[in-house]
Symmetry: C2
Subunit: 226 residues, 2 copies
DNA sequence: ATTTCTTGGATTGTTGACAATATGAAAGGA
DNA sequence: TCCTTTCATATTGTCAACAATCCAAGAAAT
């Protein structure tokens, strides 16, 4: 008799999720001061769970808190965003290498199928930057998981990606980029399928480096406001 | 009139520090179940702040929590500890590279002075593994900070180092290693002083890789119990 | 007019009581 | 004897009131 899986999401977890998505989606703008009572009213919760969630978010670096003075959504400067990509470069490079060594054949097949669906997505939803970004996120998510490196996946999925996603909503990918990015994804998966960890690492690093340079260009051209 | 610097460490911060050091020092063994009330009594605090601290520690991966079933100190397996070093390798490699580009001359001079004091420490305190380990920690700490990469330093200092230190107390460094490690530190600093980021990255990666292999050897020889 | 000091208000930090849930022991049946 | 089920207890999750602290508006003085 299977007990009903007890998905006992505690209220604090609920608050945590709500807040995290609110921050990522930009409903709470960076730098904005947010009061605890506002949040309680907004999510129909009491202060206890909300406070616990705030503590967790703070220690993950999404919020900054000053005693008795409230919490603010962290505001990442342009320079810091670029630094984030430098970190991604080395960490995801490692993830790709380990994924090449450890992913199952089934996982690799699924990953290739995912890329196919991304391709149709790009063609159909021309200009729908949001879904393209989600596809990109999906790709990187699978490789992080495929590395079988618990802590690495935790740091990528639990920390870095959320900070990057905060800015996805402002950084519409430039017109030519999605196609190129998909091609890069394909080559990375090829390397993984051939179990060539070294190559997978190299290609992933180059892929993220290209994304970083793309952002850098936009910042120089003043297409982004911080 | 300077107001007395208001070091208003909130109770939750206090609880956080107490718990973190207790975990790192091994006073709370990995896998051990810890009750909230025990902690309150132990640190003379009430459950509110303690709970908040537990939440933060959990999201940093030092604790694992199951709803209504209490929290346990995370127990890292041998394999996971080695994976941790793989992450350190790439992240600290990046830190060394950026440190070579960005540390001030003064910081580099201080770092060299630190190594001198480590040298006397190793000679005098022969076998005092603890202080040698602290010296090693100091070295890596300075480079992480010197990278001027806020998030990178945060991840290294706030996450990885605490997990590694948890096991420093069990992994007494093998007899020959401290001297060799000091030599490696010296060469890394040399590269930084010459502003050769590429070389600094390479040497740091090799340094951490050597430390990992050292641990791997000990595990094979059954000198470590997990 | 500008600066400093004071004070009221609002917000955060903390506390102890209350409700919900998992763990483990005891009882019953196979 | 072993397994399943039930129930009591202890522990965790949640709540609402209380205390401590910061912030901003306004008054006083230079």
């Amino acid at each position: 008799m299977n007990a009903p899986v007890t998905i006992t999401q505690t209220r604090a977890d609920e608050a945590f999720d709500c807040l995290q998505t609110a921050i990522v989606k930009g409903e709470l703008a960076p730098g904005e001061k947010i009061g605890e009572l506002d949040l309680c009213e907004r999510f129909n919760l009491t202060r206890g769970p909300v406070r616990e969630a705030l503590g967790r978010l703070e220690s993950r670096g999404l919020l900054v808190r000053r005693p008795h003075a409230g919490v603010r959504v962290v505001s990442v400067s342009a320079a810091e965003l670029l630094e984030l990509y430098r970190i991604r470069e080395v960490m995801e490079g490692l993830a790709a290498r380990q994924a090449a060594e450890r992913m199952t054949d089934q996982e690799i097949a699924d990953l290739q199928a995912t890329l196919d669906s991304h391709e149709t997505m790009i063609e159909e939803a021309r200009g729908q930057a949001y879904y393209q970004a989600e596809g990109d996120y999906d790709f990187h998510h699978r490789i992080a998981t495929g590395s079988r490196n618990t802590k690495l996946a935790q740091m990528l999925l639990g920390d870095l990606y959320y900070m990057v996603r905060m800015y996805r909503y402002r950084l519409s990918t430039s017109s030519g980029r999605p196609h190129r990015a998909l091609g890069e994804h394909r080559r990375i998966v090829e390397a993984i399928a051939q179990r060539d960890g070294e190559l997978a690492e190299f290609l992933m690093k180059r892929h993220i480096n290209a994304a970083r340079q793309n952002i850098e260009r936009k910042i120089e051209q003043g297409e982004i406001s911080f």
